[in-house]
């Protein structure tokens, strides 16, 4: 839970304080009539003047806060107690009880709230005695739902199971364990109900159907002041102002509580992407590779310190070649791919390096130019094709869009090309399939469609970020074959990002192994698999299932977090070959053999 913002609490607190202390404040009697001085302006005795019966406006205004908050608080409290009880019982005790406790609430929701209140007033007559129960019933469903949902979420969790195993009775579990867990949402619901009750109470009183005169109520005051608005407009403005301020404060408190208790609420805005801060190495573009990434460093600015999830990463990939980036989660491999595309999340920015694609540094291009390249000269596919395709557009239309944006093709020609692209990725019956929505396709088919979208404009470079991780094994193999074929036929360069060495072994020509944001080893795929030169690569190979049937061996420990990197080798803590000199400083990336780089001081002992 985050801290609740202070200002709204203070504002609502002030209203509550007025409501509580108004009887002991030195104010005139709010009900005392003085017809001789009706509608009189401000005077020493009556700072805000006198109303149509000569009563003191300030006193009535402050007493109005008491009426408003008393009705709102009573109604919300009654709804809260009953709603929490029903929600707990319904959520915890199951079926039959659930039906009565929870489903019947839907009935209340069939009526517009004000209407239900009016129905009750017709039958029971106006007054606070009618108002409070009616408002309580209106807000009941909100509490029941919140608590019910909370209980369902908590009920199956381990610690509740554990308590049950320990023999705790249902009552004890409900009130001791579950209730504290749903108290946040209930508090939010309480503030919502109270704020809404203030609005309804004042509205009904305004109509003369809520609080009964002569009791001081803002709604009544506004209603009464309408008759004399021409002579005394201020009489109308004061209660309007008081009411609006009270609701504004309560709404702000609702928002503040919701922000504090809702884990999904957005945090502060992320910093915008900045221009490159440092001078970069390697200002001369090289001719050979399709993409040459040099010394890429990324930074995430946090209030405490800045961390660098990717440091000094260099790699190159040629046409018709597949470069695999391998590493565990948190190694920075996906961020590297996104940085090349210019699709980094807003919090992450490039602070060093260059990415040369066909003579242009992608990291230095402005967004508009980069946009023209994305989806055209370079393309990317992602891990989860279902989430990555727009659910409301047909698959064909999403491919057509890529063609329209870059080629300016007319709709007709574009959709023919889109169908051809679907055919190229091995989707049978592409004309019909183009008409499907993403959710109507299988996982493998969706990933093929993603690939079709990516290659529609014949990119020079395709970055595939874990494209097979969400797929089952047979489909995985098909997608890998497809990527390999496309690369060969189209002369594309392919960067294949994966955490799985066996998958990489099937497709890669060249491998870059990343660990904790750095490249730790690089080399041609066959050589690297045959003879790893970094203990991490060796450990990764041992952790993968092999064809010879040897048991995979896990790597002890976890990847260090980017804000808690050790001074020496990042892999040190998990390394079987660790020596004192490894902890002295960050080992350099050295060329151990021709074309083989490793960031290990003891690489000779690895193999």
């Amino acid at each position: 839970m985050r801290r609740v913002r202070f200002a709204p609490v203070l504002a609502v607190g002030a209203f509550a304080l007025i409501a509580l202390t108004v009887p002991i404040l030195p104010l005139p009697d709010p009900l005392r009539i003085d017809v001789a001085h009706r509608l009189l302006g401000p005077s020493a005795q009556h700072p805000l003047g006198q109303d149509e019966y000569g009563r003191d406006v300030l006193a009535r205004l402050l007493w109005g806060a008491r009426t408003s908050l008393a009705v709102a608080f009573s109604a919300a409290a009654a709804a809260c107690v009953l709603g929490v009880a029903l929600g707990l019982v319904g959520g915890y005790l199951g079926r039959a009880v659930e039906f009565f406790a929870v489903r019947t609430m839907d009935v209340i929701l069939c009526f517009p709230p004000l209407l239900l209140a009016l129905l009750a007033v017709t039958l029971l007559g106006p007054g606070a005695a009618t108002l409070i129960p009616v408002l309580a019933i209106l807000y009941l469903p909100g509490f029941v739902r919140v608590v019910y949902a909370g209980v369902l979420g908590v009920r199956s969790q381990d610690y509740v199971e554990a308590m049950r195993a320990l023999g705790a009775g249902p009552l004890r579990i409900m009130f001791g364990t579950i209730l504290p867990n749903v108290s946040g949402p209930v508090l939010v619901q309480f503030s919502l109900a109270a704020a809404s009750a203030v609005v309804l109470e004042s509205g009904l009183s305004f109509l003369g159907l809520g609080v009964v005169p002569p009791a001081p109520s803002w709604g009544l005051m506004i209603g009464a002041a309408r008759a004399t608005v021409v002579q005394a407009p201020l009489l109308l403005l004061w209660p309007c102002l008081a009411l609006s301020l009270a609701i504004l404060a309560m709404n702000a408190l609702c928002d503040a509580l919701r922000d504090a208790f809702d884990p999904h609420a957005l945090t502060g805005a992320a910093p915008r992407r900045q221009l490159l801060a440092r001078l970069l190495p390697g200002l001369v573009p090289s001719a050979g590779p399709v993409l040459e990434l040099r010394n890429l460093t990324l930074e995430i600015g946090t209030p405490e310190a800045s961390i660098h999830p990717v440091r000094d990463v260099s790699l190159r990939v040629k046409a018709r070649e597949t470069l695999a980036i391998v590493g565990e989660s948190g190694s920075g491999k996906s961020l590297t791919g996104l940085a090349v595309m210019g699709l980094l999340p807003p919090a992450v920015r490039v602070v060093g390096g260059a990415a040369w694609l066909e003579g242009r540094d992608l990291l230095r291009l402005d967004e508009a130019t980069l946009r023209k390249l994305r989806g055209d000269r370079l393309a990317m596919i992602f891990q989860d094709p279902l989430a990555s395709l727009n659910p409301v557009h047909r698959v064909g239309a999403q491919i057509v869009e890529a063609l329209e944006v870059h080629r300016g093709l007319p709709r007709r020609a574009a959709s023919e090309k889109a169908i051809a692209a679907l055919q190229r990725v091995g989707i049978p019956d592409p004309i019909r399939r183009a008409q499907l929505f993403p959710h109507e396709m299988s996982g493998g088919m969706r990933q093929r469609a993603m690939i079709a979208m990516a290659i529609a404009n014949d990119p020079r470079l395709l970055i595939a970020d874990e494209p097979t991780t969400a797929l089952d094994v047979t489909i995985q193999a098909q997608v890998l074959d497809l990527l390999a074929n496309l690369r060969r036929e189209r002369g594309m360069a392919l960067i294949f990002i994966s955490h799985s060495l066996p998958v990489v072994a099937e497709i890669a020509d060249h491998v870059v192994v990343m660990y904790a944001g750095e490249v730790v080893e690089e080399g041609a795929a066959q050589a690297l698999f045959a003879e790893p030169l970094h203990p991490y690569t060796a450990a990764l190979l041992r952790s993968a299932p092999t064809e010879s049937g040897e048991l995979p061996v896990g790597i002890p420990g976890t990847v260090p977090l980017p804000h808690a990197l050790p001074k020496g080798c990042a892999f040190g803590a998990r390394c079987p070959l660790r020596a004192e000199r490894c902890e002295a400083g960050r080992p350099p990336l050295v060329e151990a053999r021709p074309g083989r780089l490793t960031r290990c001081l003891r690489w000779r002992e690895v193999a």
Partner: protein, 316 residues
């Protein structure tokens, strides 16, 4: 298809529940409902009048018989007659309902035209000037109750500036210009609050959808920001916005009471308030029933609209 049938079935069930509740409500109140309705300020009503009302409301029969009779009458569209002047409740409602619907439609139009573009603009630069301004205005719009807005509008535009009449109603056929002038103020009074909720929901939904994977895909495709916003984000963001709008409109079906009262607008809700004041139960019952049916119908319409916007819903 089965999706539509299921929703329509649920809606019919809802209408039946509502009718039953309205039927039961008056009979569940302790004491004789006829006496209750006729008593004014603690004076015992005339026994002859009570007996007559018993007969008119059918209270002299057994409860199940009353229930069947009532439902049978409702099914044929007969909502009974007013206790005040014997006029047909159904006729009176049919006369006034279109006016209220027009008012709500005008308010909704205003809310959509202001709230959705506003929310989009604010979401394009979270924390920017437009965003902060929009959030401030929407907080105000939500805080000031609709009858306060209405009263203040009357005070400023009718009584001080004398630009428009303080209220009333003129049929469209009689004087179109005056008709819309008189419609504008109450519609604006409702629309300001409504636009505020639509604004907030649009902003929140657009910000939420902007972070989804498929937006990244669209960017990876090289689609321009404006096109991403309109084509990829907005349509996915519309669902929660429609929900909020529909919920609000449903509430408004009964909630125009206050505005109609302030502007002396002869709509359905005005009829309701008069009926409540006169304790004219058949009329109250009729209006509540009609509004609730509309409310249920509106929710049904929203469900069906979802299916149009989001193809996944059709298979859920």
């Amino acid at each position: 298809m089965s999706f539509i049938l299921k929703r329509v079935g649920a809606a019919i069930l809802m209408v039946w529940v509502v009718a039953s509740i309205v039927f039961l409500a008056i009979r569940l109140v302790p004491g004789d409902p006829a006496e209750l309705l006729l008593s004014q300020g603690g004076v015992a009503p005339d026994p002859a009048a009570v007996a007559e009302l018993h007969e008119r409301l059918g209270l002299d029969r057994s409860l199940p018989a009353q229930y069947l009779l009532d439902l049978g009458r409702l099914a044929t569209g007969d909502l009974g007659t007013s206790l005040q002047d014997e006029s047909s409740v159904a006729d009176e409602i049919a006369h006034r309902l279109p006016r209220t619907l027009e008012l709500i439609a005008a308010a909704a139009l205003f809310a959509v035209l202001v709230g959705i573009p506003g929310g989009l603009l604010a979401a394009m630069r979270p924390g920017g000037v437009l965003d902060r301004l929009g959030r401030l205005l929407s907080a105000l719009g939500l805080a000031v109750p609709v009858f306060v807005v209405g009263t203040l509008l009357v005070l400023v535009f009718a009584q001080t500036l004398r630009l428009v009449p303080a209220g009333g109603y003129v049929p469209l056929a009689q004087d179109p210009l005056k008709h819309f002038t008189l419609l504008a103020m109450p519609a604006l009074a409702i629309g300001l609050g409504l636009a505020s909720s639509v604004f907030r929901m649009t902003r929140a939904a657009v910000l939420d959808v902007s972070q989804r994977d498929f937006v990244r895909t669209a960017r990876a495709k090289g689609v321009a920001p404006a096109r991403i916003l309109i084509r990829h984000v907005l349509r996915n963001a519309l669902m929660p916005v429609i929900t909020v709008l529909a919920l609000n409109l449903g509430t408004l079906l009964g909630g125009t009471v206050l505005v109609e009262y302030v502007f002396n607008y002869p709509g359905l809700s005005g009829l309701l308030v008069d009926a409540v004041n006169a304790r004219d139960y058949p009329e109250v019952q009729g209006v509540v029933l009609v509004i609730s049916v509309l409310f249920v119908g509106l929710n049904l319409a929203v469900d069906l609209l979802y299916a149009v916007i989001d193809p996944r819903v059709r298979h859920a």
